[in-house]
Amino acid sequence: MNDLREEDSMKNRPTVGEILQAKGVSRRGFLKYCATTASLLALPPAMVPRIARALENARRPSVIWLSFQECTGCTESLTRSAAPTVEALIFDAISLDYHHTLQAAAGEQAEAARHAAMQENDGGYLVLVDGSIPTGNPGFSTIAGISNEQMLMETVAGAAAVVSIGTCASFGGIPGADPNPTGAVSVSDLVKDKPIINVPGCPPIPMVMTAVLTQFLTFGQLPELDKLGRPLAFYGQTIHDRCYRRPFYEQGKFAETFDDKGAKAGWCLYKLGCKGPTTYNACATTKWNAGTSFPIESGHPCLGCSQPQFWDKGGFYEPLSTARFGSKEQLAGAAIAGAALGVAAAVAGRRRQARYTKEA
């Protein structure tokens, strides 16, 4: 896609460099900001000068945040983001023009703000969505009197790109789990003509969410995505391939229960149902709470929360190797069928034997 900073609607907005200068941030402070941004985007320190040039020219994009069938965990997670702080993000880096949970305005004023932002920034604003969208009955989830689906489609019409925050918006999440009573679908199930970035996780790692927004801000473009639409920088590796407990997996040292010797020694949690091998996310490297820890490090197997339909992939405590085949009744049936065929074969065989014996 084109560099969004070239959009006409963006040219009147102040650049990030101008905003920080107006706030009295020194060049040195700006360089510190660029260094930590490089870290955040998983870019090497050598890229810092390029990021500095990019941020000097980057204009604050207008961001509209839509919350649908969600638990608000993604917003909660984002507000815990350390780098930059959410206030810094909201006030300096982006212009959060609509977020019905965080914003002060309410009711018609809020909807007016949304429409104004859409009009002023036509073609250049970002839409962030958390929560799945029900299609079973529009009344299942409404905001300001209109259905989620209607609000989504009318808001993305003039958007530059859409970011699905969390597994619900990316893949359907909990509402979409069996039996999916509301007919919940993901953003990409409904929006077909706009670039979509999926940032899944239940919730996503705060820094990953910020990084995606910062990437957009800094380079005016979307990051490289995998075949499920997730940024490769954070979802390119499985937990298993970056897990610090991997050597224990290879050595055959597994925790069998949650409080045995192996569990206390920090051995591999594969036998306790860890979905690390089939889960793509940055938990093992970026970790949570500014790099403090992640579920496996805290002793709990990975749930696979950034994968589609992770709620319906067998139990959280069922090891990945578990077979789900052949009910006992089915195999008993197979045995009987085999025996029947065997008897039939034997009868035919005996007849042939009798013939030969007679001939002799």
């Binding site: 050595q251 594969y270 190797s321 085999g338 065997g342 034997a346």
Partner: protein
């Protein structure tokens, strides 16, 4: 349903069904046949003990043939032992068996299993080369021999590919591996791979016949 779910679910289900039905079919079909009447005087009373004895002694080559068969015998032992080690002593496999049998047993470190797996593949290739280059073997080998070789070695090769993460994603490599196992299980009861369970019947029968005739077992 993605490839991995299909492999772990319906594919293995179908394979298990065919394995059970096919194995019982062959065993019942063979055991229910009439035994050829033996009109000679029995030298010794043959019982199941004789059967068990020969199942064991056939593992060792009779002295006159030892030298000539040493090489293929060694290769076959490496292949078979390696094959069963990779199946039953690799921890993710043990977890799989525990899932439906409830039994658990200790495994070997993964790197040891990878090494054994490679040894299995090399010995299998050596045996195939022998089959293709020996004039006698080449003459008497048929589709069954080659196909049985292929479906046996494919799971080992696809299994070894998984830790390399080469060619496909982990999920797809795992799915391909499980599908290759399903293929093996479907073919196993039929053709020469049936020796997995038939070898005990054939050796046992030989033992009882030989014992009755007073031949060396």
């Amino acid at each position: 349903m993605d490839l991995l779910e299909f492999a772990k679910g319906p594919a293995l289900q179908f394979a298990a069904f065919v394995l059970v039905a096919g194995t019982i079919w062959r065993i019942v079909g063979i055991l229910m046949l009439n035994t050829k009447p033996d009109y000679s005087e029995p030298r010794k009373k043959a019982g199941y003990l004789a059967a068990l004895k020969v199942i064991y002694t056939r593992a060792f080559t009779a002295p006159p043939f030892k030298k000539a068969t040493m090489y293929p015998k060694m290769m076959a032992y490496v292949m078979h032992i390696g094959f069963f080690m990779t199946i039953f002593l690799f921890v993710p496999h043990i977890v799989f068996f525990e899932g439906w049998s409830g039994l658990d047993w200790p495994g070997l470190p993964n790197n040891v299993i990878y090494f054994v797996g490679v040894a299995t593949v090399i010995s299998a290739i050596a045996l195939l080369v022998r089959r293709l280059t020996s004039p006698v073997l080449k003459l008497i080998s048929n589709f069954d021999d080659y196909f049985s070789w292929f479906v046996t070695i494919l799971p080992v090769v696809t299994g070894l590919l998984i830790p390399t993460r080469m060619l496909f994603s982990y999920q797809d490599l795992l799915a391909i591996h499980i599908l290759s196992v399903a293929l093996l299980l479907v073919w196993l009861p039929f053709g020469k791979l049936g020796h997995t369970f038939l070898v005990f019947i054939t050796r046992g029968t030989t033992g009882m016949v030989f014992e009755r005739r007073g031949a060396r077992t």
